[in-house]
Every structure is written in structure tokens, then in C-alpha cells.
């Protein structure tokens, strides 16, 4: 019985020791703040609609650990993002970089908008040509005849 008590006490102590060891990593507020700021901009590869900051996937956990390590090594945000892009591609960035491949992505909406404006302009011009006020005398007479009937 006494041995069991000691065992329980020891295991409780052991878990305290573990908690004590793990704390400094998660509790350095400066590192954590930077980690969150960077990870919000990064996509979790496993659950693709979640950011690296919010994902509970194990890989996200591992990648946060790597990012923490890089933050401690005083790497800049850009260097940290490059580290991940080198491994996982531009896909990890929620804000895709501007390059020929992503031109349609960045400029496509504006081009579509211009096309829509052009379409609208042409439509309005066409409608104006059909304006009833532009009827000639013959047409007007015809219309009046129709209204009378």
C-alpha cells in the first residue's frame, strides 16, 4: 500500500517536472506573439482551410515547433516564410506572391470588372437606340393607331 502511494506521488511529481520543462517553450510571450502573427499567414497543409496558427493537426504542431525554433534563432519573418515555401511551395502562403503564374489571380478580377463595364456600356448604348422617343413620324402614327384600337 505504502509503495503504491509512493508510486502515485512519484508519477504526480514526474508529470509536474514534465510540465515545468515544457513551459518555457510555450510561455515566452514574445516568441508566441510572433509565432501567431506568422502562422496566421500560413496555411495548414493537412486541413487546408485552417491557418497554421489555429490548426490542431499534428503536422501543424510540428511546423509551429520549427517556426518557434527559427524565431529563437532570430530569423526574420521573410526567412521563416521562405523556409516553409522551400518545402511546401507557395501553397502555404495565404497571400500568394505576385509572379507571372499568379497574374490571373491578382489581375483577373480587375479584367473581369473592366469587361463587365464594357458590356454594360454597350448594352446601354443599344437600349438608347431603341428609345421610343426616337421614333420617326411614321412609327409614331403607327403607335397611336395601335393605342386607339
Amino acid at each position: 500500500m505504502r509503495n503504491a502511494c509512493i508510486a502515485v506521488w512519484l508519477s504526480a511529481l514526474a508529470s509536474c517536472v514534465v510540465a515545468g520543462e515544457a513551459q518555457p517553450m510555450a510561455q515566452d510571450p514574445q516568441v508566441e506573439a510572433r509565432l501567431v502573427a506568422i502562422a496566421e499567414e500560413l496555411r495548414c497543409l493537412v486541413c487546408q482551410n485552417e491557418s497554421l496558427a489555429s490548426s490542431h493537426a499534428e503536422l501543424a504542431e510540428d511546423l509551429r515547433r520549427e517556426v518557434r525554433k527559427l524565431i529563437r534563432e532570430d530569423k526574420t519573418d521573410k526567412e521563416i516564410k521562405t523556409y516553409l515555401v522551400e518545402r511546401y511551395g507557395d501553397f502555404v502562403l495565404y497571400r500568394p506572391p505576385l509572379k507571372p503564374l499568379t497574374w490571373p489571380l491578382w489581375f483577373g478580377p480587375f479584367i473581369l470588372w473592366l469587361l463587365a463595364i464594357l458590356g454594360l456600356w454597350r448594352y446601354l448604348r443599344m437600349r438608347r437606340q431603341l428609345d421610343p422617343r426616337r421614333l420617326d413620324a411614321q412609327g409614331r402614327a403607327q403607335a397611336e393607331q395601335l393605342l386607339k384600337d
Binding site: 514526474a14 503536422l59 510540428d62 518545402r87 511546401y88
Partner: protein
């Protein structure tokens, strides 16, 4: 008739785009590592001989397969890998990815050596039971090497050429179609080139 032409064209375009979108797998992300040298590492092997490094494979085309015994999709592709290893002379190296998961990996009462031992035992048991397609197996317990290889969903398979350059990456289980239509032709072509 002409009135319907434009909406019809727009509709067909939309359907084509949506159709292509449906066929694409969002989990297939083009790897930036294809065409780049395989990242260097030195990892303990399953057998426990000297650490394995990709440099050891210089001069031959080889396949790196990332797997784990807990990975269901890995079991799915396993028979195909076995068949590959029996019919091809291209060496395949297995990289055991984070064999110990979650609480087991974080268990502080186990030393690193104990964890490695446990992971080895589990991998060996599986390979002895189901067959071993790997010429060499290496243990990546904390998944750090896998991060360097851009692994995000096991199983993953890489083809590395004689110069040590990654030529192909497959995410997810290798299927008979992928093996026949992509992997085997690529391996043959790489093997022929000096």
C-alpha cells in the same frame, strides 16, 4: 437563335471549369522540391547499422517511400510496393515517419533510445508479417527530416536520380495506374541516362 448563343457559350465555359475543378485533388500540391537536390540527412536505420544518408545512394536511381505502421493508406499501397521490389532492381528506401504518435511520442519516462527501440520493434513486426519492400529503412521519429522533404500526408513517394536530384513526388498511396503510367517509365528513363 443568336440570342441564346452567348449564354450558352458562357454556360459551357462555366461547366468546363467546374468539371476540371471537380477532377482535381486539392491535396495534390506541386512540390517545390522536384528538380532540387534531395535534402541531406543522417538517420538511424531499422537494422541499427551505421546511419543512412542520401549520399550513400549516389550513382543510382532510387525510391524513397515515407510510411508508418499506423498509416492506413500505407497499408493500402504496401502490396504494390512489395511487387515493385520483387520485379524491379531499383532500390527502395523506407522512411518511417513519426512511428510513435501523440502521447507516446511525448512520454517523458521513455528515453530517446527507448522510443527508437519501440519504433524499430513495431516497424520490424509489420515488415516481417507483411513483407519488406525496402532495401534499407530509416527512422524519422520526430518527423524533422520529413519536414525537409515537404511531407504533409503519409504515404509519400519520391524518385531520386543518380545525381541525387528529386525527379518526382507522389502524395498519397501509389496506385497501379500511377506506377505503370508515371513511375516505371520515369525510372527507366532515369536509369538509362548516365
Amino acid at each position: 437563335m443568336k440570342k441564346f448563343l452567348l449564354p450558352l457559350v458562357l454556360f459551357v465555359t462555366l461547366v468546363v471549369f467546374l468539371g476540371v475543378g471537380l477532377k482535381r485533388d486539392p491535396h495534390e500540391i506541386p512540390s517545390p522540391l522536384v528538380g532540387k537536390p534531395a535534402p541531406a540527412f543522417a538517420l538511424p536505420t531499422l537494422r541499427g547499422d551505421k546511419p543512412f544518408s542520401p549520399v550513400d545512394m549516389k550513382g543510382q536511381v532510387w525510391v524513397l517511400n515515407v510510411w508508418a505502421t499506423w498509416c492506413v493508406a500505407c497499408r493500402e499501397e504496401h502490396p504494390l510496393l512489395l511487387q515493385f521490389s520483387q520485379t524491379q532492381r531499383i532500390p527502395m528506401v523506407g522512411l518511417s515517419y513519426k512511428e510513435l504518435q501523440g502521447s507516446e511520442a511525448a512520454n517523458a519516462s521513455l528515453s530517446e533510445a527507448d522510443k527508437l527501440q519501440l519504433a524499430r520493434e513495431r516497424s520490424l513486426k509489420f515488415l516481417q508479417k507483411s513483407g519488406n519492400p525496402y532495401q534499407q529503412s530509416v527512422m524519422d521519429l520526430d518527423g524533422r527530416v520529413a519536414i525537409d522533404y515537404g511531407v504533409y500526408g503519409v504515404p509519400e513517394t519520391y524518385i531520386i536520380d543518380k545525381e541525387g536530384v528529386i525527379r518526382y513526388k507522389r502524395v498519397g498511396p501509389v496506385t497501379p495506374e500511377v506506377l505503370k503510367e508515371t513511375i516505371l517509365p520515369l525510372i527507366q528513363q532515369l536509369d538509362k541516362s548516365a
